[in-house]
């Protein structure tokens, strides 16, 4: 029966996605960029909207929320999955409001103004059925996908405003966004890049190779040399895994050191991060904030004797507080860390912060 086929097909795809998420996190499978994850999540959510059975917006939101919870549970450190789910939930709310005939964007956020003027305890329960809702939501998700595809280019387009000739730029590890950013600036400007290798995974080496192929003068340094070299650096440009709700970062380990060294020398720290990395979490959840992988990279298993005598940790992420960051460059332009709260209120609805 076609109906049953569609459903099993959908659940198969969801399961496959979840399995990939779980595998991708253990460090063994091919590492996917977060852009890819975001696109795949949005595509999967579009498929769910198209194929799952639902009558009102409330049902759809429940289904998506449930799938979202499963996906975030599969890989808690991959926050882009949760962010995409929240974006889609906001899209559904907006389309519902628009179908319901309310003009423009009624301010759905809590505010003092709303407290004073609201007539009743308006519990929007999204129960009304609108036939064109499905098509509208799918179209909006398509727009979201187009936006996602263009993020790296939008960020790279802003490179010429920030990088000037004969500058020394420092970066750490490997970020596809920063790579595109620097390559775009290299078309018109000549500058020098210093890459911190970011042990133990040493992704900095790949970054340096890629940049030098594009004709940029690159130097690789060890993480320990960051402070020593910082006095010669004009700007620090880094990528990040997540941007937190207070304007802080969850970035690859070693970034906090880099940020502190930059602050000490009053060097501007610029973070290139697309909007889908913005997450409504705060850095207080100790259980899900950090991810540890096999300490094989730090102390290989061949070092037999020492292993029984020492504890070895290999954390993947670092927290960088918002005071150390100068500017966020995203696909919608440059913003100060203190403005993050505003961007968040535009992207997500406060009730969706907790899936």
């Amino acid at each position: 029966m076609p109906g049953a086929d569609k459903e099993t097909d959908l659940s198969e795809r969801t399961e496959a996605f979840l399995a990939e998420l779980k595998r991708g996190g253990s460090g063994t499978g091919p590492l996917r960029g977060s852009g890819e994850t975001a696109r795949e999540t949005a595509a999967l959510l579009r498929r769910i909207t198209a194929q799952a059975r639902w009558t009102s917006a409330g049902d759809l939101m429940e289904i998506i929320r449930k799938e979202g919870r499963r996906m975030t549970a599969a890989q808690p450190s991959e926050t882009t999955v949760g962010n995409m789910v929240r974006r889609v939930l906001k899209i559904i709310r907006e389309e519902y409001a628009r179908s319901g005939g309310s003009s423009e964007e009624t301010d759905q956020q809590e505010s003092l103004h709303k407290l004073l003027t609201s007539g009743g305890l308006n519990e929007e329960n999204f129960r009304q059925h609108f036939p064109p809702l499905k098509a509208n939501v799918i179209e909006a998700i398509n727009e979201l996908l187009i936006e996602l595809e263009g993020t790296t280019d939008n960020i790279a387009m802003q490179a010429l405003e920030h990088i000037h000739s004969n500058e020394v730029i420092m970066t750490i590890g490997r970020s596809r966004t920063v790579e595109a950013f620097l390559k775009d600036a290299a078309r018109k400007r000549k500058f020098h890049v210093i890459v911190a290798e970011c042990a133990p995974f040493c992704q900095g080496h790949e970054m340096a190779t890629s940049l030098s192929k594009a004709g940029i003068e690159t130097t690789v340094i060890t993480d320990a040399a960051i402070f020593a070299v910082m006095s010669r650096v004009n700007k620090v440009i880094i990528g990040t895994q997540t941007v937190l709700a207070n304007g802080g970062l969850r970035a690859v380990n070693g970034t906090h050191t880099l940020a502190l060294a930059a602050k000490h020398h009053s060097t501007p720290l610029i973070v290139c991060a697309p909007m889908f990395k913005l997450s409504p979490q705060f850095p207080n959840e100790e259980d899900t904030f950090h991810k540890f992988v096999s300490p094989q990279e730090v102390l290989p298993f061949t070092e037999g004797e020492i292993l029984s005598k020492v504890n070895v940790h290999c954390p993947v992420f670092d927290y960088v507080p918002p005071e150390l960051i100068t500017l966020f460059i995203s696909n919608i332009g440059g913003n100060a860390p203190s403005y993050i709260y505003r961007l968040m209120s535009e992207l997500y609805h406060p009730e969706d912060h907790e899936l």
């Binding site: 809590e110 505010s111 003092l112 004073l116 709700a245 207070n246 203190s338 993050i340 709260y341």
Partner: protein
Amino acid sequence: MNEDELVEYFRAQMRQDPDVASAVAAIRTLLEFLKRDKGETIQGLRENLTQAIDRLTGVDSSVAVSSGGELFLRFISLTSLEHDDLSRCKKVMVERGELFLKKISLSRNKVAKLCHTFIKDGAKILTHSSSRVVLRVLEKAAAEKKRFTVYVTESQPDSAGKKMAEALKNLNVPVTVVLDAAVGYVMEKVDLVIVGAEGVVESGGVINKIGTYQMAVCSKAHNKPFYVVAESFKFVRLYPLNQQDVPDRFKYKADTLKTAENLNEEHPMIDYTPPSLITLLFTDLGVLTPSAVSDELIKLYL
């Protein structure tokens, strides 16, 4: 409702429910005043209300009462813009007023729900003087089976800290009372600082019991997070740039203002903590960074 009845009603509200915030009691009193008002025009109503608010601030000069009063006036203006006819306007106002009161009575719980996740197991918390909101947050954290210890400052001149310590002992939370002067000494031991607020100003700074500014400076020096918990009706339209800018009428108790000969010789009861020292504000509108506060106020007043 004449002035004495007004004051008596206010005092009765505070007596009946010692747990209620003074701003809420003020708004309740003003709502009662509104119900009994015999004015014929909205303009007359506003004038009477302004006088009533002045009278109330004469009884309790705290920032909270003043912000509650201003919020109520704003509420009247917004509602009166929608309806021209006075009697219908009054009916709508009374309805909305009751609804507003109901919503803000839930605000402390909302704040507690947001804040308790920031208290980790084994945390050592420092707080200042006695705040009912902080108490609610700590209650919620204790109910979530988190283990933590609390240091409370004594907070002279009224030793309010001891009241807080009593309440915490009843919750079986290990608590230590420290001298106000010992804040610097104890700061290296604590993990985070949580304080309440009497008023949250436009810049995102807070006005709170004297000694809060000191605590904030110390926590900045030691790199400890400084959290403020406050309900949204405490947002007030002030923009002090330093301690001197805070109006005298908030700094001293109402009786002191009336009887003192030289205010310079009196001890102020509150101080101003600038937003650069505050990490996050927990309100019923969500977790806000200090820069987000002015956004909220603009949405309301403009």
